[in-house]
Symmetry: C2
Subunit: 376 residues, 2 copies
């Protein structure tokens, strides 16, 4: 979806702030992933965007869903998602959530600690366990190591513990870190899983599912490896590993790469200020009501920004959000065509981790959500 003249004229009557999603783009992204990872089952990570129409379209396209909480899972079931197409890969699940999963027979789930196995054994006997393996996160924007994962050396013991507790060792999963630009992380992770899988096989444990997790990067303000590139590298590595074994069911769990570039966030400039040499504009969506990811990277320049009048002379801007708070400065020192009070600013690739993380702090509501296909 291009933020061109046509886009601005079609959306002019909508009151800002809003996010507009393109369902055609969503479908294209899903198909690109399916083609890049042939024979893989694709699971949509619900936490990235839980809008019912997005969930419903992905359901109709045949996607599975990865869920982390009772509320999320319950919403999926309300939207008529087949329970067989749901997995929970949150490594730490509350007892209440486990009991719910048991009731609904959603039985494939991760674990990455002995304590979690004890808990699952208590609340969901016979569950299928897909341990999360510690892998390299170098080169990822959000690194997960330290918080989650089982070390390789720990595995034979961990699998025996799963069996002893009456659960089923079912496969392996890993997470290279969110927005991973270092393709060799996948290569190394697949090699690690190959080793763990083979050791398990030798111990008589027949694993069935290999999950490649998430982390495929999205182009925000700089070029990153494409879905096709990551797919090619992963498929090549898989053809060299997992030999002499029953072929695993391959899955991949993606959020950002399915939905990020499907959404465009539109704001109006409601204030401007010149402070010394610095030009400030203030927009209706900031750190607290939609753009929390903008401040999680060091340079405060995470999302691509566009304006209504691209041909104007450029200036350097800081962009403040709507609240009074110092942290509410999602962009610092970015170059934009000159922009005035009342004009519109567009934040691209705002389809993932925006509205789902938004609060109404200071009385400023999260952006409303619309679909491009509904506009005339």
């Amino acid at each position: 979806m291009k933020a061109d003249r046509d886009f601005f004229s079609k959306t002019q009557s909508l009151k800002t702030p809003f996010i507009i999603y393109d369902l055609q783009k969503l479908e294209d992204n899903y198909q690109r992933i399916k083609s890049s990872f042939p024979e893989f089952k694709v699971f949509f990570v619900m936490k990235s965007n839980a809008h019912p129409r997005i969930i419903s379209l992905l359901r109709d396209l045949g996607a599975g869903f990865e869920t982390a909480s009772l509320n999320e899972t319950s919403e999926l079931l309300n939207l008529k998602v087949d329970s067989k197409k749901i997995m929970s890969f949150h490594p730490i699940k509350s007892p209440e959530f486990l009991q719910f999963l048991n009731k609904k027979r959603i039985d494939i789930m991760t674990a990455d600690s002995y304590q979690e196995i004890d808990k699952i054994a208590h609340d969901f006997p016979n569950a299928k366990i897909v341990p999360r393996v510690v892998v390299d996160n170098l080169g990822s924007a959000w690194q997960l190591n330290g918080k989650y994962g089982i070390e390789i050396v720990e595995f034979p013991h961990f699998f025996r513990y799963i069996l002893r507790k009456g659960l089923l060792p079912w496969g392996l999963t890993f997470h290279v870190g969110s927005q991973c630009e270092n393709i060799s992380n996948w290569i190394k992770a697949i090699q690690i899983c190959d080793k763990v899988w083979e050791d398990a096989w030798r111990d008589g444990i027949r694993l069935k599912l290999l999950s490649l997790g998430g982390g495929i990067p999205v182009k925000y303000t700089h070029i990153v490896p494409s879905i096709e590139k990551v797919g090619t590298v992963a498929m090549k590595e898989l053809s060299k590993t997992f030999l002499y074994k029953t072929k695993p069911v391959f899955t991949i769990e993606l959020g950002r790469s399915i939905v990020a570039d499907v959404g465009v966030l539109v704001n109006t400039v409601f204030g401007t200020a010149t402070r010394g040499e610095i030009n400030w504009i203030y927009i209706e969506t900031g750190t607290y009501n939609g753009l929390v990811e903008a401040i999680e990277t060091d340079n405060r320049n995470f999302f691509p920004v566009a304006t209504q009048f691209p041909r104007r002379r450029k200036k350097i801007y800081n962009i403040g959000g709507p609240t009074c708070v110092s942290l509410d400065t999602p962009f610092v020192g970015i170059k934009l065509p000159r922009i005035n009070l009342g004009e519109r600013v567009v934040i691209k690739n705002a389809g993932a981790y925006t509205t789902v993380c938004a609060s109404s702090f200071n009385g400023f509501s999260p952006p409303k959500e619309y679909f491009f296909q509904d506009l005339n």
Copy 2:
């Protein structure tokens, strides 16, 4: 409100996560501030906690309110707060908000840029302008300089601009930064205001209101200057300044120091894990659904934490929130009595900037809110 045995037994039947507020403590805090700042009008900063019962009690105690948005202001008026007791100190207000303030005759407001003056002149002629002065933020946990404020040298010109645009120069305000432990910031700020005020007087501008802003620190995990100490220092400085002038109306705008230690957040441990040498517990409230302030300080050790069984041997813990996300680790390396799955953890001083900033990311709801006075 002590997190003692009595507290745990009284709150045992409430389902976690929840915040419990003590209205008596709220009243005590308000009275302490009134005594520490004699003759000051105290304004509650609504963004810190917008619960209707907290607003209503403060209204009945005689407090005024500081508001930043149309929604906040509208909520204050719904709660029968007198419009004369409302000021808006957000330096950048949307045109829509200014028109609303005009309609409701809420006429005292800040500004800190020429562009804002133009906007106010257009949407609220005759408004009373309290410019925000740039002051030192050294020693404050959240520093605001760069984002807001007018430099001293700019003032004579700024006041003339306000007058030329048909608005009324009404006073001065500043902000030493949130959670300010460096008392000399107030001394310097008062001295700066004295100078600006005197220059304005000589130019024939009779200012009426001096606002000391916010920033009084709250004791979280280490001792900070008390309200009384800050009051003593400020009052002493005010007695040495603002001489030979009509006495200003003094105001102070406080959120954190009125409401932070009024709230206690209670969570259940829903998961545990041992990863190498590190003990992890996972609780129901984290970065995204209530504890965003916990991760804004470097050491991930912002709030005091207590447990149900204080006499047990201590261990070092990391505490993860409920979501799958790496950022959702509100506490790192804190010492706690040994704690098990299903036991309760208490986060103290959780009355400010918690529920108001919370989202339901990953399907995890913000904590419910209760009042200690309602329990048996």
